[in-house]
């Protein structure tokens, strides 16, 4: 199966690990990621204001590219995923917004949210199946791993619809499939401080500490995330255990550790 792949700006740069491993593992698991031509940055956050049109056009272009290619759009980064899903939802449900966007782009092909958007994890769960993932594991992880969802991956729950926003299981299922022991801790779906780290690093430090301490108390030996910013915040603000991308984990279990 082929997917149009939207890596996003960070994955081309600071979060290359997230990107490279995602591609390698897709090959092993039998699906193809076709990188989108000339993608533009999603903006990192979805602006909720009804009159913000221009900030969402880049994402609509990517969605339209997938529609034109006849493929679902897949993302790996939590932020891209959040922005793309929210924009797609707005194009589906908000006629005024969709109309304004379509007039703006004005390229003869109106878009109303026809593209199906997947997070890489959703592809693993809903299309490949965690059973298949489990079969491909060569190096079971055999450790206590705390999944960290943060906020972008789950909320707003009624729009993202990836998992139960208050009791998500998708990363725990992945960890199990990879031979690890998932550790559920209370703050796994709370915010790390996000972009506020730019303007108020002290506040981000407080938030991040709450998250990793919660994971460590619960017995996690490693934290796994899909968000470059979460990872940055947790590491920078003193996490005592490794913080990895889920694709790194996937690669470690399927391909093994590279030196």
């Amino acid at each position: 199966m082929k997917f149009l792949y939207y890596p996003g700006c960070t994955l081309k740069n600071k979060a290359k690990a997230l990107d490279i491993y995602a591609r390698e593992c897709a090959e092993i698991l039998g699906f193809e990621l076709v990188e989108i031509n000339d993608f533009q940055c999603c903006g990192g956050v979805f602006t909720t204001s009804a009159d913000e049109i221009a900030t969402k056009l880049a994402v609509v272009r990517a969605l339209k590219a997938a529609k034109a290619a006849g493929m679902p759009l897949v993302t790996v980064c939590s932020a891209c995923h959040n922005v793309i899903k929210q924009t797609n939802h707005a194009m589906q449900t908000d006629a005024v917004f969709a109309d304004r966007v379509n007039r703006y782009l004005n390229d003869g092909d109106d878009y109303h949210g026809e593209t199906k958007v997947y997070h890489y994890l959703e592809v693993l769960r809903d299309i490949i199946g965690f059973d298949k993932v489990k079969e491909c594991v060569k190096y079971p992880l055999n450790m206590n791993i705390g999944a960290y969802y943060g906020c972008l991956m789950l909320r707003p729950g009624s729009v993202i619809e990836m998992d139960d926003a208050e009791n998500p299981q998708i990363m725990e299922q992945l960890i199990k499939a990879l031979g690890g022991r998932p550790v559920e801790y209370g703050n796994r779906n709370e915010c790390c401080g996000g972009y506020v780290t730019v303007t108020d690093p002290g506040f981000a430090r407080k938030r991040s500490r709450i998250i990793y301490e919660s994971a460590e108390t619960a017995g996690a030996e490693m934290i796994v995330t899909a968000c470059p910013l979460c990872r940055y915040n947790l590491i920078k603000n003193g996490a005592d255990i490794p913080v990895k991308y889920f694709t790194e984990l996937l690669s470690k279990a399927l391909i093994g550790e590279k030196e």
């Binding site: 700006c9 204001s49 909320r155």
Partner: protein, 130 residues
């Protein structure tokens, strides 16, 4: 003639698409907010103050820049009020004015530490700058 306050309120309600009258003042948004202790005005107060038209203090408050847009309040509100969208609309009211950008290009070099992901800068720019 509507006074300036009323116009701002109208614009905030339009931008956020929030019906502030649905709020039943339970305070769950503020109970769940991770930025509570950093804020001078809290999510439930944003909703209430916009409803009553007491918006001036919000416009001048640092609280606008503490909201993480983590949507915990949006998902957990029993009345579907979506306080985060109100906070965002109030913030936009401020930063769309000339010279009111919270984050300025000159601030950036000090922030870059070699590790910070692009995502952080892009997001912060989008939230704090117009």
């Amino acid at each position: 003639m509507k006074d300036k306050n009323e116009l701002i309120k109208e614009q905030i309600l339009y931008q956020s698409k929030v019906n502030v009258r649905k709020c039943m003042r339970c305070g769950k948004c503020s109970g769940t907010c991770p930025a509570y202790d950093e804020m001078e005005y809290h999510p439930h107060q944003f909703v209430y103050m916009v409803e009553t038209g007491d918006i001036e203090p919000l416009l001048n408050s640092e609280s606008l820049y503490k909201c993480l847009t983590c949507f915990a309040c949006v998902d957990r509100c029993p009345r579907g009020v979506e306080p985060a969208k109100i906070v965002e609309a109030v913030r936009l009211t401020v930063i769309r004015q000339q010279g009111k950008n919270k984050l300025k290009p000159d601030d950036i070099p000090d922030i870059i530490d070699g590790e910070i992901p692009q995502q952080a800068l892009v997001s912060a720019y989008r939230k704090f700058t117009k």
